[in-house]
Every structure is written in structure tokens, then in C-alpha cells.
Symmetry: C2
Subunit: 347 residues, 2 copies
Amino acid sequence: MPASTLAEVARLAGVSPATASRVLNGSARVPGENIAERVRSAAESLGYVANAQAQALAKSTTGLIGLIVHDIADPYFSAIAQGVQAAARQERRMVLLATTDGTPAGEKEAVIAFAARRAESIIIAGSRSTRPEDADANSRLAAELDRYCRNGGRVGVVGHPIPGASETEGYRIVTVPNEQLARDLASELVRTHEGPFVIAAGPQGLTTSDERVKGFQRGLAEAGRPAADVVRAAFNRDGGFDAGLAIAKQIKGSGTGVRPCVFACNDVMAIGVAAALREQGLKVPQDAGVAGFDDIEWLRDFRPALSTVTLPLAEIGRLAALAATDDDGGPAAVTGNVTLRRSTAVS
Amino acid sequence: MPASTLAEVARLAGVSPATASRVLNGSARVPGENIAERVRSAAESLGYVANAQAQALAKSTTGLIGLIVHDIADPYFSAIAQGVQAAARQERRMVLLATTDGTPAGEKEAVIAFAARRAESIIIAGSRSTRPEDADANSRLAAELDRYCRNGGRVGVVGHPIPGASETEGYRIVTVPNEQLARDLASELVRTHEGPFVIAAGPQGLTTSDERVKGFQRGLAEAGRPAADVVRAAFNRDGGFDAGLAIAKQIKGSGTGVRPCVFACNDVMAIGVAAALREQGLKVPQDAGVAGFDDIEWLRDFRPALSTVTLPLAEIGRLAALAATDDDGGPAAVTGNVTLRRSTAVS
DNA sequence: TCCGGTAGGGAAAGCGCATTCCCACTGCAT
DNA sequence: ATGCAGTGGGAATGCGCTTTCCCTACCGGA
């Protein structure tokens, strides 16, 4: 038993479908008030709800915006999703959600699905991979995005351009100065921390991680400090934990007196690092400092409070959505700022 | 410049649209391989992507599933969203996302939007409000849901039935035994904690909060303990913080030696409570125990580790999505279990 | 009184696809 | 040679809506 149609409403109201359409679904031409009232009450009594598919087909505009994230349960992504959702609501659009676990192949699938749904814009969040084994999938993703753009779609990318994607019209990117901010973080940390630095990074080839590592190392170099050791692991909480275990072993093996400061490339990794250190009997910040990146809101009550780089995540999502929606506006840029808390305090 | 159409593909391949449709978009009748190949290569060279709107209109099935949450950035909801998303992916559907801040009016709007989009099922997560001032909006929401169901839609509700919604066919609910679990938590806590209990609850009339309060009080009563004071605040982290401040004041005012145990009605409130207590110079668990509810994954590294009730959030989302998708299967039920950690330990 | 102009309503043509029905043709048994 | 089932392709219809175009009726001005 399908929903009632415009034609039924029109018949009940004794008008033509054209008229019914005009009064119910907005049009330049507004019928007379008496007629309009008849139509409205007919619609009401039938419980008419316009079929958005049919409208989309007729108007060739869907009001859909697609959001692609690695994992919606990750607070980094859910914060961005919140921003996208807010922008969508403001623009009276609906958001379609796809999760991909970060694989370019999955992202390609999502782009195709969104293209089929004729989403008017697509937001892609999450670090890109520049690893050789992903090159193939990346270029396929890029090809799909290009096709989507050629057909009039708009793409908003958070962070980094898709490797291999041409800079077509309608391809907006919200840049985050990861490298610069990581450098700033290092610059701040060297002011109080005198020992060695260690970086808990994601896999090599993850752009976000790579940029943050690079920036942090640059900050150290500028301060005349030796480069930090880089411990690689998964770019999530468990990866951080693994890295933390390795680092704990290093600390314990290196005799007393050395108190390293660990820079984890994102907050959830930092949490993992801290958990591992604690599990190994090491105290933060007494035995080792820990800093993160992102300043995830839900992690602010952690103790010791995490030194990190605050990023306006929701705003990033909002900007990406707006950039991919509005016609004006070139590339949007956001920035963050270093937030020192107790996890890197020296007694 | 719109995407190419099936007709264009058919023309290029030198076949009829019917045939092209049959080879490209699956059908009982599969054309001969030579023809199929012609069509496929034509589609490939044109970059054809089927228009899902048109397909939906023709087949009257959309493959859409709508998800309604209070706030996608809240880890409780994003965990559920993850489950819904996983189920959707498994069933080859796409999820439409709507956030409502928990207002019945907003939920009604979302239901209408999903109905317009002809989503095949709608998942509603988040506590209901039974407050008198929401009665009106609730019944409107219920009416909208009923209409949606009457038109063949399926609804999956997490937790509580919508107040006033009739139990129509296609109206599935994933129940969570909040009251029972809160009782169990109390039963466990009384075994070690001898002092008074305090409950940091959400506003009166929030079903989830109300149930948990009720269950906890019942657990206390069954153990022969006096009922706990109930401090009400917003049902989120900041509400927990506010409640925590009030409780800290009580503790300080009541002389030394009384060490209460605070039951916050959800984990993020518990985090807020703990933060407030700490800010007021009180130590958890030495000066006060704190327990939560939900066992949010991202909070597991919190210290002191939070005693709570573990709920399979992602599974709940998955079940709700499946219940609202499959034809079989009656009401699904999940349960959780009490997880005692250090935040309620007595020295 | 007549005429040009202008609301205001309806008919009809799509939008892009799935699907039913029809038709031509093939291969086989009679 | 004839009939028949079976196969494979196409024409046409409809999904529910928007929008252009047309037509009628009514308005004011001369």
C-alpha cells in the first residue's frame, strides 16, 4: 500500500495535478487562495507526502549531500560529521553517510553510490594514503571523482587532495596546516622539555600522519634538537597502545634519567600511548610526556589532560559542506592552535 | 552537463533501452553475451552511472534507510550509527542521517523528510521524553510514524516506544533493560560501598534516565539501603559536570568521613561528574565513587577507569537496522552487564 | 462597446528507468 | 512440410512529479 500521490490529491481537490503541484511544492505561480486551501486540505486528509525521488527526477536536483568517512564511531570523524550535518540542515539538504575503513577502494564505491543517487556534493574526510600499493585504487578513486565533477558534482575534501585527481572545477578542499601546526607544537614543547622526543606515527604513506611527523621534526630541527625516533603503528587507539608498549620498553631499557616526550600523531593514538605507558608502570607526565593532535572533545577530561593541537573539527566539516554547496568561495582554510596541558608538563 | 542516460548507452550500443537495462542493471532475463558485451563497453565509454532516483521511481524501492539521532558527535550515538551503517552496508543499502538535538519536533521533521525520500526503514535512537510539554510534539511524531508505517515503512526504535505510537505492523523496537541493569549495578555496588549513594540524573521525563534511576533505587531498596538523592541536570557531559559541582558541595558540607558513591545515568555524565569532583579537590575513588552507564568505548582509557554497565552499542544499532529491514524477527532484545572498575573501588 | 493585457487554471510532454507484452526467429518433433 | 515451444530482442507504458505552453475569463482603458 503505497503513499498517496499528487494526482490523487488533485482529484480529491477537483483541480489538475499542475495546480496541486504549484500549491503544495512551491512554484513561482501561486494559485488563488480558495483553490490553494482546497488542495491543502485534500493533501492533509490523504496524508500526502511528496515523493522526493519523483521530484528529483523531474527537477533534476536531489538536495542530497554525501559524506564519506573512515569510521563514524571515531570521534574525529563524528565531530566532522556533526559539522557537515549542521551545514546540510542549514541548507535544507539531507546527508547520505558512507563508511569505508579508509580504503581508497571503499571510497571509490561510495563515490559511485553517491553519484548514482545524484548527490549534489560529496564530502570526503580522512587521511589519504600515498603508499604504492594504494596507487591503483587511488587513481580509480580519482577517476571516479573526476567523472562525478564533470557531471556537475561538487567535491569537498578535508585535508588533502586525492592523489591523482585533476583540479577540476567544483573540487574544493579544506586545508589543515598539519605540518605547520606540528612544527608549532614541537616549538612549544622544546621550551620546557629537555630530553629526547619520540613520535608515535601512523603507517608511512598516510598523508596526515606524514605531514605531522615532518612538521614536528622540522620544529625540532629549528630548535637545534636531534630528530625524534619514529615508531609506526596503526593510526588509531590500538596502534597508539602498541607504539606505547614499544616506547615503554625503550624507556625501561635506557637506564634512569631519560624522560622522553612522545608526540602521537593524533589524540586517540596519544590515549593509547598513555594507556600503554601506564600499564607498563610508567607515569605521565613524570616518566614521559605525551602529546596528541586534534583535541577531540570527548578526551578533554582525560587525566593527565592531553597536550595537543586544537582543531575546529565541526567547523571543518561545516566548511567542507558549504564549500561543496555554494558556488562561490575558493579553497577554505582552517587553522588550529597548540594547547599545552598537563600531559607534557615538567615537574 | 548531466550524466549520460541509459538511452544514450543503448543507442551507442545499437540496442533498445530495454536490452541495455537488462544487461546493466540486473534482470531475470539476461541478453546474449555478445550483445551484453557491446552494451557494457558502451556504458563504460560513456561513463554511465545509473540514476538511482529513476530506478527508485520505476521499481518503487529505494534502498534507503534513515537514521535519526540526537547528536552524531555524541559517542553513544556514533557507536549506534556505526552498527546501523554496518548493517546497511551488509544489506546493500545507504543510510540517510538526521540529527535532532533530541526534540520530538525535530524527529517529526526527520521522519517526514525520510518518508518523502521513501526510505524503506527508519531507525530512531535516543531517549524519549515523557514530559507534559513534549506530549503534543510526541503525538505528532507518533502520528507521522504511524502514517509512515501504514505506507509500508518499517521503524526500528532503540530503547523505548514512541509515546502514543500505535503498535502497527512493521514497528520494531530493540529493547534495552535499563532498569534491570541499573538494579544490577546497584546490587554490585552495595557489596563494597557502605556510604550513601547519589544519582546524577538527566531531566525528569527522559525515559532512559528515568528507568535507570528507578532501577538503581530498586537495587538499593532490595539491599535495604536508603534511597539515593537525585541530582538532576542535562543528560550530557556538561550536565554531569554541573551535577558534580552540586555533589561536591554536599560532600564538603557534610563533614569528613562520608564517602558517597555517585551513579551518573550515562557515561558522559559520569565523566562530567568526575571532572567536577576533581576540580573541587575531591579524589575519585578515594573521596567519592563514580559509576556510569553505557561503557562508551572511547572512555575506557579514562582514569580512574569507570565502573559502568556495558552495552553493545554497535550491536544495538545493527539489530535495529536489521529488525527494520528483515521481514521476519519480532522485537529484538539486547542486554548488557555490570562492569566494575576502579572508579568505584574502595581502598 | 471593444480590445489588449493579464491572471489563473489545465493539458501534455518529459525526467530516466523497469517491465510487460508482443513479435520474429530458431530448432525440434510430428 | 507443418506446428509448437522456446529464445532473445524491441515497443510501449507507467512510476510521480515539474514545467512549458496554451486557453479561458476577467480586468481596465479608450
